[in-house]
Amino acid sequence: KNYGWGKGVEVLKVEQDGKSGQLDLDDLKKKMDGVAGVYIENPSYLGFLETQVEEISEIVHGAKALFVVGVNPISLGILRPPGDYGADIVVGEGQPLGNPVGFGGPTLGIFACRGEMEFLRAMPGRVIGMTETVEGGTRGFVMVLQTREQHIRRERATSNICSNEALCAIAAAVYLSLLGPSGLREVAEACASNAAYLMRRLSKVDGIEAPVFKAPHFNEFVMRCDGSILELNRRLLEKRIHGGKPLIEEFPELGEAALLSTTEVHRKEDLDRMVAVIEEVMG
């Protein structure tokens, strides 16, 4: 089900609460025997926040395993960073940081870990260090820990990277430079505010349940409808609106559901137009 199969990694799924989506801590405890690491996403794939992160961190570290958290970087404009609640490794999709969606790429990944040598040596990707030149003592930048790299380690290298990812990373750096701390917070607030508005409006439409999970959300949420979600999406598309991503194949237990997302690019009239079309279809 993921790229781990190539390394022979066995993946166990931890149960979640059907109503709130929150991780089942008792089930997690039961499954911790001999586990190397636990991965959660916050906000989760289905949009809700995992609120028991401190408890999860404690259980994972109690079993001497690593706590890995996947994030949407924009959400970190308002949400506490995973390092704060004990994450050892943080990963994420870097595309939201000023890179176009571009039909699936090119894009970049975010990979961060605690600053310990044991982690750094195993880390994929180039590590650039800041140092001083021998003559003059001026600042300089060099690639460090090169023994992990493809030009030395060859096929056993942990670092395989291409200049086009660096190009995307520069775009992300420019984006964050222009936003700054207040800008990133405002983008995150606009995303969350738009989603909260859309959830409130949709929840009042007959035959629509939004959000399905009773938990705090960032900018994504699951919506369920009486009737066919594919038909609803088709009717939306007729009005030139992309509906949510249907979840009927990935999560059949959720029924006729779709994953919706709002960002800071959506205007109030966009959201109102979508609600109006859904009202018309459902009514």
Partner: protein, 98 residues
């Protein structure tokens, strides 16, 4: 022995964005039309965000200087190939944007 690239003379070294930052500056504004209260518990919110505060010209100048510390496709003829060969000639990018 390698030397650190410069964009100007020997004594000119480009500072880091964090060194260029000044409190209260910003490079862009975010449009927000919907003022809806969203439910994120206080405990889950972050208190500080350590990013530099920069004006747009500062950011443009910084990255332009960095680009001039290296010889690349924008500086002149570049006969090496692999990743860089995938870039379209500038004129084609221009035409594609018409």
């Amino acid at each position: 022995m390698s030397r650190q690239a410069r964009w100007g003379g020997e004594e000119v070294l480009e500072p880091l964005l964090f060194e260029l930052g000044r409190e209260g500056r910003r490079g862009s504004f975010v449009r927000r039309e919907v003022e809806e209260r969203f439910e994120i518990p206080e405990k889950r919110r972050r208190r500080e965000l350590n990013l530099p505060e920069l004006s747009e010209p500062t950011v443009v100048r910084h990255f332009t200087r960095l680009s001039q510390m290296n010889f690349g496709v924008d500086s002149g003829f570049y006969p090496l190939g692999s990743c860089t060969m995938k870039y379209n000639p500038k004129i084609c990018e221009e035409v594609a944007a018409w």
